[in-house]
């Protein structure tokens, strides 16, 4: 027995060293933590339970049979984040550059299967050179096995990808199908084809950072949902995000004790809307002042800034927030903002997270680039997402809600549960000037008459009452009471049950 104990400890020691001390030192010298250190920081101290520590690859080509590392380049298992269970895998760059072999993939598949069966999120830490070339098609098969599980798990358990090193080629498609991707600034990149291939094929000269670094993916491509300064911060923020998410689609979102009164009045919100209708203000101020303790976890902060998405808590319970941002492009909807918000709304709906929508939208962005880019179908994504969502939906119109964009932004007509408006709300088919110029086309030559018509239109329609008279607005609320009103609305909706007709799945305009 003693020998076995000794052998177990010896084998564990070997496995824990991954690709060896020299490679660990190299990893550290690049400012990166090792796969094991990352798991340690992600999970509650001492909570990690490892699977498949002694798994090795089965490849016998190219002398691979002589190079075996227990664990085969990925660490898998489960543990807790603030006492809640999550499954985790973490690729080990010190072993064959974290490359994915058949057995490496099998280890990932094992934790994903268990996560789905037991209803807990999967967090994947990616740091891999790509496929294990020596294994050929077996490696490709491994990827596809993972992909299939990403697809099956989508909407069943939250899936989070942390990109903490290279993630290239086919490997990118696993994170691409997860719910959230976070990167580390300066030490992670993602692309389908790398700079060398790009140069060969298109003659473009581009660095890995420019092609697929965190700035590219958070600002331009929107592939990533956020980027953090370093591994330590990224892992801490991932823990923070998990605190907002339900463990699976059968559970309600988490609730935690809160230190913020529901009836906290914010008198400063009464002056949030500027005197001039053309002056911008920061919708984030409203979000932060509504949220419990001012805590807001923003998703896709750097992309399509004309719409804001993220998580807050109200009375301790997670709420997804979508808000038009008047500071950017006047808060209008366009291709990017519609896509961004639609995906967020669908995530919330899939995981029973109530949605708060804050509306100040002058309409859709006009222009050939938008039309040629297919704003019709992209805009429809957001419309579709709101319309199919059955979670509690509360909407507050702070200022403009014009035209089709009014309909889209979680209007009453899309089964909004509570549709509130501030006294400054203007719910109309378009702004006064545009409307007047169409209705009174005959007077276009006469500036005075047009001005008078515009003033008339403003008096009649630039307010929340026309919509309120029809019941499209449930109530006009005072800005300072918004936190109280919205919190009570969600409290009243905790028992909400709404079902869409049975279908295999809808056909959202992708």
């Amino acid at each position: 027995m003693k020998d076995i104990h000794e052998e177990l400890e010896a084998r564990r020691d070997v496995a824990r060293l991954g690709g060896g001390q020299r490679r660990i030192d190299v990893q550290h010298s690049k400012g990166k933590l090792t796969a094991r250190e990352r798991v340690e920081l992600l999970l509650d101290e001492g909570s990690f339970e490892e699977f498949d520590m002694f798994v090795t690859h089965r490849c016998t080509d190219f002398g691979m049979e002589k190079q075996k590392f227990p664990g085969d380049g990925v660490i898998t298992g489960w543990g807790t984040i603030n006492g809640r269970m999550v499954y985790v895998y973490s690729q080990d760059f010190t072993v064959f550059g974290g490359s994915l072999s058949e057995t490496h993939a099998q280890k990932i598949c094992k934790v994903m299967d268990m996560a789905m069966q037991n209803g807990a999120p999967v967090i994947g830490i990616n740091d891999s050179g790509g496929a294990r070339i020596q294994e050929g098609v077996a490696s490709l098969a491994g990827y596809a096995e993972v992909f299939q599980r990403n697809i099956m798990a989508s909407g069943v358990v939250p899936q989070i990808s942390l990109i903490m090193g290279p993630c290239a080629g086919g490997a990118v498609y696993s994170p691409a199908m997860t719910d959230f991707i976070f990167m580390v600034k300066g030490s992670s990149y993602m692309f389908v084809t790398g700079p060398d291939v790009v140069k060969t094929v298109t003659n473009e000269v581009v660095t890995a950072e420019e092609l697929g670094g965190s700035a590219t993916h958070t600002k331009k491509s929107s592939v990533a949902d956020g980027a953090f300064e370093n591994d330590v911060v990224a892992l801490a923020e991932c823990r923070r995000l998990v605190d907002f998410l339900p463990l699976n689609n059968r559970e309600k979102p988490p609730v935690r004790p809160f230190f913020d009164a529901t009836d906290r009045s914010e008198s400063s919100l009464d002056t949030l809307i500027p005197e001039s209708a053309n002056t911008a203000y920061d919708m984030k101020e409203l979000i932060v002042k509504l949220a419990d303790e001012g805590d807001f976890f923003e998703i896709q902060e750097e992309f399509a800034k004309n719409i804001i998405t993220g998580f807050i808590r109200l009375e301790g319970q997670t709420v997804g927030v979508v808000g038009n941002q008047p500071m950017v492009l006047a808060g209008c909807l366009d291709i990017d903002s519609s896509r961004k918000a639609a995906r967020f709304v669908r995530f919330c709906d899939a995981f029973e997270i109530p949605i708060l929508t804050l509306v100040d939208v002058p309409g859709f962005l006009p222009g050939t680039s938008q039309e040629y880019g297919g704003v019709i179908k992209h805009g429809a994504k957001l419309l579709f997402a709101y319309g199919e969502a059955t979670v509690p939906k509360v909407t507050v119109i702070t200022r403009k809600a014009y035209g089709g964009a009014y309909d889209v932004m979680s209007s009453k007509h899309l089964r909004g549960d509570f549709n509130y408006a501030w006294p400054t709300a203007e719910i109309a088919v378009m702004g006064a000037k545009g409307a007047t110029e169409i209705i009174h086309r005959g007077d276009l030559g006469d500036a005075d008459k047009i001005a008078a018509h515009t003033a008339d239109y403003e008096d009649r329609f630039a307010n929340p009452f026309v919509a309120a008279e029809r019941g499209f607005i449930d109530e006009v609320i005072l800005p300072h009471s918004t936190r109280t009103r919205v919190s009570r609305a969600f409290a009243s909706l905790r028992g909400k049950k709404q079902e869409n007709p049975w279908k295999k799945h809808g056909n959202i305009p992708l």
């Binding site: 920081l41 935690r256 230190f259 919100l269 303790e293 805590d295």
Partner: protein
Amino acid sequence: MFKKILIANRGEIACRVIKSAQKMGIKTVAIYADADRNALHVKMADEAVHIGPSPANQSYIVIEKVMEAIRQTGAEAVHPGYGFLSENPKFAEALKAEGVVFIGPPVGAIEAMGDKITSKKLAMEANVTTVPGFMGLIEDADEAVKISNEVGYPVMIKASAGGGGKGMRVAWNDAEAREGFQSSKNEAANAFGDDRIFIEKFITQPRHIEIQVLADSFGNTIYLNERECSIQRRQQKVIEEAPSPFLTPETRKAMGEEAVALAKAVDYASAGTVEFIVDGDSNFFFLEMNTRLQVEHPVTELITGIDLVEQMIRVAAGEKLSIAQEDVGINGWSIESRLYAEDPYRNFLPSIGRLTRYRPPVEVATDTLAVRNDTGVYEGGEISMYYDPMIAKLCTWAPTRDAAIEAMRTALDGFELEGIGHNLPFLSAVMDHEKFTSGEMTTAFIEEEFPDGFQGVELPEAFLQRIAASVAAMHRVAEIRRTRVSGRMDNHERHVGRDWVVTLQGQRFEVRIDADRAGSTVRFDGGHALRVASDWTPGDQLATLDVDGSPLVLKVGKISGGFRIRARGADLKVHVRTPRQAELAQLMPEKLPPDTSRLLLCPMPGLIVKIDVAEGDEVQEGQALCTVEAMKMENILRAEKTAVVGKINAVAGDNLAVDDVIMEFE
């Protein structure tokens, strides 16, 4: 007594006057321009009259508009506050013509003292000591240089109609005299519509000490001691106190008597201030007389117990002074800090915008401590580009100077102000500066002690430990709450540990926390411990703590993975980690901020008035590159080193935001 008065001003001073009027049972009328539609003074007054567009020269200083508001409301008297029309004899005359009382001195006194050249002559006649200088008006830059040489450098170039630091420049050589003359002239023309300039000797090692006088219409004139206003930046007062730590009772009496003599010489009646410059040997020279209520009047009120606004109103209503010189004493010590919407990290450039958070410390008035905050803004209000960037005047009073300073430190730490750049950290830094605490400051204090501007504060280790212990205890509370989230695995909860590593300001403290119901004992690696008690809960942006028996107030914010803590002028990133987290965090590379040394960034939102260089020019250190106008002040941006101008991204007339790139260097 009057039944209704109008306050021809805005902001904190309008609110201040309204308070005294209300106390006296007098109804108040406010006036407001467009930008002040929702201002505090409008809310506080019984009535409010709109008087025009936002720029002051189309509203607050248009005499006819104010007169119309008076007619409309039937106000019997007008308090002008400071600035605007307060020292405008035409306004006082216009009021007189319509039988409305001006709550201020007689027109003659305003006229006599309003012009710096005339006032100096009058002072000399009244045997008041004055500063050597050239009394005539100066025509052009060449003459300015000539006269400067005659008076001898350094010289002060001043707008005749100037005040509040506008239109004033100190020149140490011909080049500066030439430039200073031009910019003073321009500023004076813009600000006062009067571009007359004069030059006088600039006194070195000077202190700015002023005497508050109070006179009635029956020839009774008294002085209410002095205010020391030496902490100034570009001639703009920042911190004032009463009494002065410098004056002996004899000097005080001598200055007071000269001030009274001057007031009498012009038949002064109302509150007024005689400004002196005092050199290191206690020689004092008359500077000017301000024929109005001074911004910094509260410190005098706090040490004398006299309500100056009330006295002004009573004198204007024809009452006799009920206070005699021998009734005026000095009770304790008072300090005033002016909170400006100016970003100290960007060379005090003006900042405008919405006050997303504005929570001053609670006002108190006891036998051992007073905290007073004179303000004209509120949370959710706006600091507009049209007016003075002063947000509030925070005053403390205590029996001794040290206690008043300590009270100010705590009050500044507890002042919550977000949404705009402001000088709170700088004020805190001054409160901890040895030259200020010892009372050995001159008007050159800021220039000498902060020659490269304000870069923030490095806190001493003992204070860092107090913060570290506090934040560790707070972090533990926040972590324990996180473990109470729903959906936990039963019996496998996370246990929050006792050992933590706190990093801040490049320092690292290993601590162990033993918490009980009343607080936490935070033991440091070296063995000593601090006892921390607080009712702070996660999300509170202000933590009021008791650390080992003495109070500590911290502003608490979030940064990713840690806390942003502000106190005593320092702005710290604080991380509290488990020992293992801390060990791994040490492996993370230090990321340096992007290099902006080859760029000229726009330091404030403003208008490019002119660009002085062209692409390809070689510029020398100190050479003017361009002029940005913001808050009606022209700011010349200069080359920090010798360089060749590369691309220029802006042209005159462009409106730029903060950090927009104006030009690049090669």
